[in-house]
Structure formats: structure tokens, C-alpha cells
């Protein structure tokens, strides 16, 4: 599926919830389901700056497909849930697609407030870092 098809799927998944409580329950569930990363990935250089909780993001290119694979973790579950959505949408795509992606789903599922640079939960920093990986691996 393309990045946009995946975004539409996420929007669809969240459309069932009117209440913030249910949306956050979903994020928490997603956060809890995100596969744990390896201790070797929980290192300083994978830490994303500017977050109140610790967020690790690791990326590598799959030799066979040339796609970027993202893995990550956070000690705050909501942040982990948001990270899980980003991975669901952006992981396993060509670097150029990632770098150029327009992530409209965040606003559409009611998480726009997390995009504010003052929120310090690092959603903005996570998105920036993932796109940066897209740019770097595109070279």
C-alpha cells in the first residue's frame, strides 16, 4: 500500500471514535503492541531530542527492497502509540516517498494539538527525524 492508502486506513480506524477517551485508549493499545526494540538500539544516538519522555528511533535500509525500515520505542505509552502510527504509515517505503510524504492523517484523527512545537512530546521531532532518514537514505 502507498503511504496515503495507509494514512486513509488509519483515519478509517479512528473514525469510529468521537470521544477523546476512546482515541487515547486506542493509542495506548497501539503503544502497548509496538514490538520492543533491541537493547543495542536503545542508545543515546537514537534518542530524539525535545521530548519530555524518552523516544528512540532507529532506521535501516532493507537490502532487498531498498525500503527504509523504522523501529522505535518510548517510555511513555501515548508517545509510543503515536510512534506506532508513524511507523505503520511510513515504514517499509522508498526513501524519497518518506521524505516527501504529506502526513495529513495526524490532524484528521484529532491529534493536531500534538503537532505544536511547544507540546514537547516530540511528535514533530519524530516526523522530522523520519523524513530526515528518508532524505539521507535517498542519496
Amino acid at each position: 500500500m502507498t503511504i496515503n492508502e495507509l494514512q486513509d486506513q488509519v483515519i478509517d480506524d479512528f473514525s469510529a471514535f468521537d470521544e477523546w477517551f476512546d482515541r487515547y485508549a486506542m493509542l495506548i493499545e497501539l503503544g502497548n503492541q509496538l514490538p520492543p526494540i533491541d537493547d543495542s538500539q536503545r542508545v543515546e544516538q537514537n534518542l530524539i531530542q525535545g521530548c519530555q519522555s524518552r523516544v528512540w528511533l532507529d532506521a535501516h535500509v532493507d537490502e532487498a527492497t531498498g525500503h527504509v525500515i523504522f523501529e522505535g520505542d518510548s517510555d511513555a505509552v501515548i508517545v509510543k502509540g503515536i510512534l506506532s502510527l508513524l511507523i505503520q504509515v511510513l515504514s517499509d517505503h522508498a526513501p524519497a516517498e518518506i521524505a516527501e510524504a504529506d502526513l495529513y492523517f495526524i490532524e484528521r484523527i484529532g491529534l493536531k494539538e500534538h503537532l505544536s512545537p511547544t507540546r514537547s512530546n516530540g511528535l514533530l521531532a519524530m516526523v522530522r527525524q523520519m523524513k530526515l532518514y528518508g532524505l539521507i537514505f535517498n542519496k
Binding site: 477523546w20 477517551f21 487515547y24 485508549a25 495506548i28 519530555q52 519522555s53 524518552r54 517510555d75 511513555a76 505509552v77 501515548i78 508517545v79 512530546n121
Partner: protein, 408 residues
């Protein structure tokens, strides 16, 4: 005034408390970060700009004299609020942080040299650590640290062992912004003075909650921020004993009165102007004085009694929540409760409580050494002011219980 019986009226003094957040009534429990402002303070700021705005200490004209008088009247109000010996001992700053930086610089220039020692505590706000570190770097001095025990109480034995011939200053919080511990500053000052060492007390979290008498404490320097005591942002206070201030060089250079400047030589202002280069925030100082009159009108003793009751109630209720951990269990504690609930990250808890209209703080509260002491990254912090209610404590407790169900 008995706050409990007048709480509804008192809350009407604070217009922001009527706000709705995500369709919930605002429950504001982030008072240690900054307090809300009563109408009288808001009006004072407006009045200042409408009727009294002219630069102070500069003009011969009517408005300038009025503004100057209001500004100097504010200094007297602060002096009497702290029971300072004289208004000359009150220096207006931008806040606690600037006041500490001022002392670290000016006292440091006059009295600190290589090999000297400055003592702080393990529970200080970064604002009472970093300026001293910078001083130590500048002078080749050494920073020494008073540890605290797991209840959050300073180890006074360790403190007295730290004092020696090289100790030049002790800087310690009156009340910890993270643990809520009320430190025995009178005893600390006594011990330090016995060793001939002056003490700076960071009163940022104490001044809003209890009456302060700098002469009874015998503090050499006492600092606080206006915005944490219902006053405006951008104004703070340094109280310093005249004897010390006289011996210290200015912090910043610039314009002011009572100084003569030539390219060869400048003679400095007398106190307190020596430390107030440039145009002061004279609107802010008069609004701060208004905030002080406001709390004095209620009575610091009443505020302290009411908030103590609220703290006791909050602590009892919060402790009944399964998995509740409170950091800071000192016998003498004030206005701040730092916690973690089970394995729920404070950031998650804070984000979801916000959705219920409950404003608190999550993070390390600019006191990373405290986090390190307990081996944690952050806490959820509720902090109280005179306008908080028992119902708001109930809302907090219910909110935490509700959020917990999401994690089960």
C-alpha cells in the same frame, strides 16, 4: 480571613478560574510554575499604563514623579512584607533566576577566588545550581552539595561537615519546588554564620505560602519571583543585607541615577540603584506591590493554614490510589506533591488529565538531581494556591482513577 468560608468569593477575584478547558471547568494545579492573577493586579497594570506611565528617576515632570513614587512605594511594600531593615536592601530583578545570577556574579567578584567553595543542596532548582557552577568555573572554585535522604529531608550533619575555611557561601531553597520540603533554613543560617559564611535563600516556593521575616531568619540574601505570588511576570526581588550589598560591585552597567560617568572612570550609584541599571519594570513593581497587599489583606497566616489543610487532604486522598508513589515525605512539607502512579509515565498521565481540564506539571521540574536521587526521569506534580478547593482535589483524584482504567 478564613479562606474556607470565603473561598467562592476569593475565586471570583481570579477571572481565569472561570475558564473551561475541553468543556471541563479548569482545575489549575500548576501554581508552583506560576500563579493566576487577581483582578486588582490586572487592573493595576492597566492603570499604570493608562495613568502613570513615564520613566522613573529621570524626569522633572509630574508623571515621571508619580511613576517614581509608585515604584519606590512598591519597594517599601516589599521591604515591609519581608521585614527588611530598609528599602535600600530591596533590589528589583526580573525574577528569582536573575536575583541569584546577580549575587553569583557580584558577590563572586568581590569574595570568591580559586579554591573557595560554594555550598548548594541536592534539591535545588537549576536556577540555584547553574549560576554557582558558572561562578565556580570563572573563579576556579568548587561546588559542594548537601545531600537529602529518601524522605526528601536535607542531611544537616553532612551540611555541617561541608562547612570549612574555604566555604564562601551557602545557597539553599526555603521550599523545594519538586519535593515540597520546607528546609530548616533558620538552622542552616545559624550553622553557616557560626562558620562565618553568608547564606542565600531561594524563597521562590516559600514566599507565596507563609510569612517571611528575613531579619528573624537572619538571611544574608533572600530571593523570590513576583509571578509565583499572584504578581506579574518579569519582576522579582533580591533582598540583601546592606552590609553585603555595599561591598559588592554592580552586576550590569548602564544608565541610572546618582552615578557619574566619564570615559576614565565611573562612580557607582548608591543602593539599591547600584544594582538596577537601565529602566526598571516600574509598572511590574507596582503590580507586584498590589499582589502583596492582596495576600496581606487575606493574611499569610490564613493562607498557610488553609493550604496546609488542603495539602493534608490531598495527600491522604491521593495515597488511597493504588500504585501511588509520592516523592517527598518530609515532616515539614508545603504546597507541592510530586508523584507517579503505578508504571504510568507522568507524561501519559498529564496528557490525559489535561483532557479532563486538570492542569498540572510533568517532567523533571528543573531539578534533575532530585530525579537522579530517586532513579526516575520525571514526576507528575500538583501544586496548590490559596484559590484551590477541596472539590478540585477530588476532581484530581477522580481524574487519576479514570486515567488509570485506560492502562489496566
Amino acid at each position: 480571613m478564613d479562606i474556607q468560608t470565603h473561598i467562592a468569593e476569593l475565586r471570583q477575584d481570579f477571572p481565569i478560574l472561570e475558564s473551561q478547558v475541553y468543556k471541563h471547568p479548569l482545575v489549575y494545579l500548576d501554581n508552583a510554575a506560576t500563579t493566576q492573577k487577581p483582578w486588582c493586579v490586572i487592573r493595576k497594570i492597566e492603570e499604570g499604563y493608562r495613568h502613570q506611565n513615564a520613566n522613573v528617576h529621570r524626569g522633572v515632570h509630574f508623571l515621571s514623579q508619580m511613576a517614581t513614587e509608585a515604584h519606590e512605594e512598591a519597594r517599601k511594600t516589599v521591604a515591609s512584607f519581608l521585614n527588611a531593615h530598609s528599602p535600600r536592601e530591596i533590589i528589583f530583578t526580573r525574577g528569582t533566576t536573575e536575583a541569584i545570577n546577580l549575587v553569583a556574579f557580584s558577590y563572586g567578584e568581590a569574595f570568591v577566588k580559586a579554591g573557595d567553595e560554594i555550598v548548594v543542596s541536592e534539591m535545588e532548582h537549576h536556577s540555584n545550581i547553574v549560576p554557582w557552577q558558572m561562578l565556580c568555573q570563572r573563579k576556579g572554585a568548587v561546588l559542594r552539595v548537601i545531600p537529602f535522604n529518601d524522605k526528601g529531608e536535607l542531611d544537616l550533619q553532612a551540611f555541617s561537615n561541608l562547612l570549612n575555611d574555604h566555604t564562601k557561601l551557602v545557597a539553599v531553597a526555603h521550599v523545594s519546588n519538586t519535593l515540597g520540603t520546607v528546609n530548616p533554613v533558620a538552622e542552616i543560617i545559624r550553622q553557616a554564620h557560626r562558620a562565618g559564611v553568608p547564606v542565600l535563600v531561594d524563597g521562590a516556593q516559600a514566599v507565596p505560602h507563609r510569612a517571611i521575616d528575613v531579619q528573624a531568619l537572619d538571611a544574608d540574601f533572600y530571593v523570590f519571583s513576583g509571578h509565583k505570588i499572584y504578581g506579574p511576570t518579569g519582576v522579582g526581588v533580591l533582598y540583601g543585607k546592606e552590609n553585603w550589598l555595599e561591598q559588592m560591585p554592580p552586576y550590569q552597567g548602564g544608565g541610572g541615577i546618582f552615578s557619574t560617568v566619564s570615559f576614565e572612570h565611573t562612580t557607582y550609584n548608591e543602593l539599591p540603584y547600584k544594582f538596577e541599571a537601565g529602566t526598571p519594570d516600574f509598572i511590574g513593581t507596582t503590580a507586584l506591590a498590589e499582589a502583596i497587599r492582596y495576600v496581606e489583606g487575606i493574611g499569610m497566616a490564613s493562607i498557610h493554614a488553609y493550604e496546609s489543610g488542603l495539602m493534608r487532604y490531598a495527600t491522604e486522598q491521593l495515597m488511597q490510589i493504588e500504585g501511588m508513589r509520592i516523592f517527598g515525605q518530609a515532616a515539614d512539607k508545603e504546597s507541592v506533591i510530586s508523584m507517579q502512579v503505578g508504571t504510568i509515565h507522568p507524561y501519559d498521565m498529564g496528557t490525559l488529565l489535561d483532557k479532563l481540564g486538570i492542569a498540572l506539571r510533568t517532567g523533571h521540574h528543573c531539578a534533575e538531581p532530585v530525579m537522579r536521587h530517586y532513579g526516575i526521569e520525571s514526576t507528575l506534580r500538583a501544586s496548590f494556591a490559596l484559590y484551590n478547593t477541596y472539590e478540585e482535589v477530588d476532581a484530581l483524584v477522580a481524574g487519576i482513577r479514570k486515567v488509570r482504567t485506560l492502562f489496566e
